[in-house]
Subunit: 367 residues, 4 copies
């Protein structure tokens, strides 16, 4: 596999991006969009949020076409590649980035609209890793039991059929499962001068491992440092909610996204919007605290958007929120609170920026 | 409101129920089905799982048409009825039952197929209760803060439109939300001679508060005592996942179900099957333990059903399970692990009893 | 071993007990005290709190001399007796009781002063039990790992030296450890009509497993049902804090205690007083909730006793409380909050009832 | 208050330090010891573990005489200084350091023996901080309740009497409490290139907030980066176990310590030894995971030191460990597992380095 650092800047026709500081109203005028294509060499991989020098400076409105390696840094390629020998704990979950977004300052809202995610390899890998995962003891949920055995699974991708194939290692079963690409990890540099490994999800985003981070979604992240310094990686060709064994169908990914910026309005926890839902991702331990954090932020969001007082927003949330677990395996656990738009009064998040970027995405895909 | 104890035993035509101990194969012969209609007087309400005398003895195969009061025992009927004055902590979450199922012995599997759930009142109620709920401190997640204010909401039911209406109390907003009837509480007498309040979910079922307990679902519960002694209640006209404020749109419910029995095969945790999913409900604290318990049971179930070894089942679950939270407010928290049937090889749970009861249900509804 | 049901009622000379309902002031007049000696036959063991008929009715002021079996019901007597074959999950942690205390009504405070605890056998037993304990996965902190191996240890008691002897099973080491008798389980019938296995600690007391429940301590329990219906058992010849492997040096125990009653004043969580400390035992999951519950109750207690407002009491507690963990292995975990009396202004709990019972105890021991 | 950066290097007579890599045996020869006195200017404060340039390079065997500011960076000096106005979330818990220890490499064991801790001011401060602390909801244990009120307490230090004085703000009570100086925060640079705020405790040490970190204790920390880069701060004039309100009697501290190094042997979690105990500090969430992590490490330590197999070590730990909670307020919670030396066979940790440093300390104090 070649991962050349092909850097291309081109112009395509798109829609202007609405940013509140400039008081623009939505206009469907065609303007050229910056497009940056970037595929890092292994020595350019970032292993942390914060603490890595930016690979590029970009303007809000830029389209990024990015390649990211898988969470194993491509080291599990065959069922005979076992984690304890093939992996290095210091080099897990490589990120593509960070990108310095011009004009981003602490308190602003970074907007990432995912246009497309497609497998960059014809296979994905998953594994049980000793003392890592949800249904084993770990270094913290520590017990005196022996580790579960290691095992590696390789899933073949059939892009035509839109599937990945599970092959049992202890038996004969094979099963085709729908391809459902997503990014496990999207984040910015943390607050308080911290540098966090890319294995961690928290307020800065990071390794949230939610299937909601897929094409068609817009992610809102609070900016903590000048330039935001966001990066992404950890492509999953599909993943169950919870990511039970600790690893999804991990795969290198080609991701197209539009980067935008809203001045101010930084959310406390990562928020995601798609055509159907408003979502908040809380990450903490124990799992109920991940839930509480996201739920309280969703109540605040409801109050702002719909004009309810706190108790009414709490009540409404109680009857409408959908709450899938994202991960119960990472350094923090993650839970998503989802509010269906069709149950709410018509409302606009950041002047309808998701809809606007969604429209732009169409022109990009077409272009 | 009238809650007459209308006890009617009648016979309708249905399909014979398959029970493994008798080695029957599936036959579509028409047989008469016992039908029992029961609506308890308030003094017949059960407040516990275990510890209450059975209200009826029934045979496997019986159709029950039950009325159950709401979790407030009908005491919140107006927005001026506030929990601290209107409710009595000793009389919450009344159950209809228990029913003694003939032939049920410890280790057997009680099978409850829900045919129909319809609101038995034209309104439902919800409330914030001091120091109860998910986004407040409680008697256990104890803090020194003041309680959130009490507030009661009354939702009008429009059966024709299939909606309940949220009316903000601190503002003007009203919202029609889809009616989505479910039972918060379904359970049997616990093991070890315990008697548990109906507010608790655990291995015996109980107050799991999952929207999956709805018409079309079949619930499998492990039997702990002779006769199983199951009861049900806590109708919800709709509920968000997590039941954040601690109360759903609580409402009296008319429930039609078919009761059946499989000898042996008692699941560790409550299992639910519908046309599309196999599900396990784990209940514990912290929330990750509710998840772990249900996930491990789902791995075991996958092994049995699909013939995988433990690690392969763990891997497959990791890529396919959907995991909505059920409740983060009760004495134990509950999480549902769902496995989509269409992602699995064709498989039969208890010789296809769900499909069989589903077919019977059609004849009942028609009848 | 013989466990005859030797019931003896005798009179000894003691100090009158101060009970607030009768408005007595402390007088050191000699009055006869009821003494009841009771050692249950195995068929008289209670396995639950609530749900068992009282073995005796006693008056406040009664001295009880009780024998209790060990938590294994005496079934582990040799290192070759392994839990999975020797134990029956339905018959664990037998209690001596319950005792109906005359005059006790819901809302009252049961007062149990422990005069003496001495081993009733020359050996104690401990064991690792599959999927039970703190450093193994369990039925709730469920993983897919194999269980730790079973092993049984027998500790010889040397009452003269005041020791129990640890003998390594996988090596040669023997170690004499100080004998430190305590009761793992002391409780009353629960509220809400519940019946709980004796393995559970909660607001009603139960299986708290704190070394503070020893001779010289006075335990205050809130009464939930007429007669209180308290029982005790689960003697430990010694135990580390946390009871890590799930079992202490379990042993049959002879316990002498004085039973008393304060009308009203029921504490939310079990409280313990000894000459040096005021203590609250919180029990819940996760462990921080056990801590929070006990701490909040200790803040309330400080407010009442010392006359501080809530924030001042919180501040003072923050600088003085000692907080040993009691158990991290039972159905609920338990944490003790301790306040050293010598750091507080002089104060009296229930008119100095602990000091009074302590004085009585001296006369009993002497008598 | 004066905080001059008085850097003094002098020589005093001490005992040579035993370091295993050089195969020395214990000899009581007098050798000169490097002494470094350092008091940082505010602009030299470190706010993170990792990510800060070393203030000094020192050799193993160096005596450090350090001044550290309090966790509020000295901004709360009067009861009218309230956290929300006086504090800046970016500048909390300043550390003195980091120090680069020559020869320290990843996998080594940094040894810090605390000789003396004395208050560097005549007053200490404590406060309730909105949504911070153990008995309030927080940003993660998030609820919709209002914050507890802010309040600041100033404690006067009486070094002669050895006390700090609590003064109630909502009433009249004053209480003298024993002075018990300790450091809340001691740590090294983290692994995996992380930079963590000084508010966090984890495997690298940090903000563990255990009263065991006091004069007479030797702390063992695993080295993650060349030079170890340790720092310390967060002096407490006294603290209850758990640090319930989130802040102890916070005070600037003069600390004398001897820094030493053992090649290899890095413990997974911070370990502490004093004359009476071997201790492990686990830090995680939920609280039971902090406990589990420390307990499993203590079992491993017992195995190594005493020569027991895993199950025997687990059993022995179960009967002897003392387990005080350290903090339930920081980003991770901390629990200490303590093993009394007098219950164990005679054993030497790192060839008796604690005893050796203890002897050296005597000569320093005398000198």
């Amino acid at each position: 596999m070649t991962c050349p650092d092909e850097l291309t800047i081109s112009f395509i026709t798109g829609l202007s991006v609405i940013r509140r500081p400039f008081g623009l109203t939505l206009k469907e005028i065609s303007t050229p969009m910056d497009v940056l294509t970037f595929s890092p060499e292994p020595e350019q991989y970032a292993w942390t949020f914060g603490g890595a020098a930016p690979v590029h400076r970009i303007k809000p409105g830029t389209v990024l076409r990015l390649w990211s390696d898988d969470a194993f840094a491509g080291r599990l390629r065959d069922v005979t590649d076992l984690p304890s020998s093939a992996l290095d704990a210091r080099y897990l979950n490589p990120q593509t980035g960070p990108f310095h977004v011009e004009g981003a300052e602490p308190g602003d809202t970074l907007v990432l609209h995912f246009v497309e995610m497609t497998p960059a390899r014809s296979w994905g890998a998953s594994a049980t890793v000793p003392f890592f995962g949800g249904l084993t003891s770990t270094d913290r949920t520590a017990t005196l039991q022996d580790a579960l055995p290691e095992r590696t699974w390789i899933y073949q991708v059939d892009s035509g059929r839109g599937t990945v194939t599970f092959e049992a290692q202890g038996g004969e079963l094979t099963l085709e499962l729908p391809l459902a690409p997503m990014l496990g990890t999207v984040g910015v540099a943390p607050a308080l001068g911290e540098v966090r490994t890319s294995l961690v999800p928290d307020k800065f985003g990071g390794n949230m491992d939610t299937p909601e981070m897929r094409a068609g979604s817009t992610c809102y992240l609070g900016v903590n440092v000048t330039g935001a310094l966001f990066s992404l990686g950890d492509g999953h060709y599909r993943q169950g909610e919870g990511e039970s064994c600790g690893t999804a169908v991990e795969g290198a990914m080609n991701t197209t996204l539009i980067v935008d910026l809203v001045k101010g309005g930084a959310p406390t926890w990562p928020r995601i919007e798609n055509d159907d839902y408003l979502m908040v991702v809380g990450s903490s331990r124990p799992l109920e605290d991940a839930w509480r954090a996201g739920q309280v932020d969703a109540v605040l969001w409801l109050q702002e958007l719909v004009g309810l007082d706190k108790l009414d927003a709490y009540q409404l949330l109680s009857q409408i929120s959908e709450v899938p677990i994202a991960n119960v395996v990472d350094t923090n656990y993650s839970v998503v609170t989802k509010l269906a738009k069709n149950l709410l009064p018509p409302t606009q998040v950041h002047d309808g920026i998701h809809r606007h970027l969604r429209d732009q995405a169409t022109s990009i895909s077409a272009g």
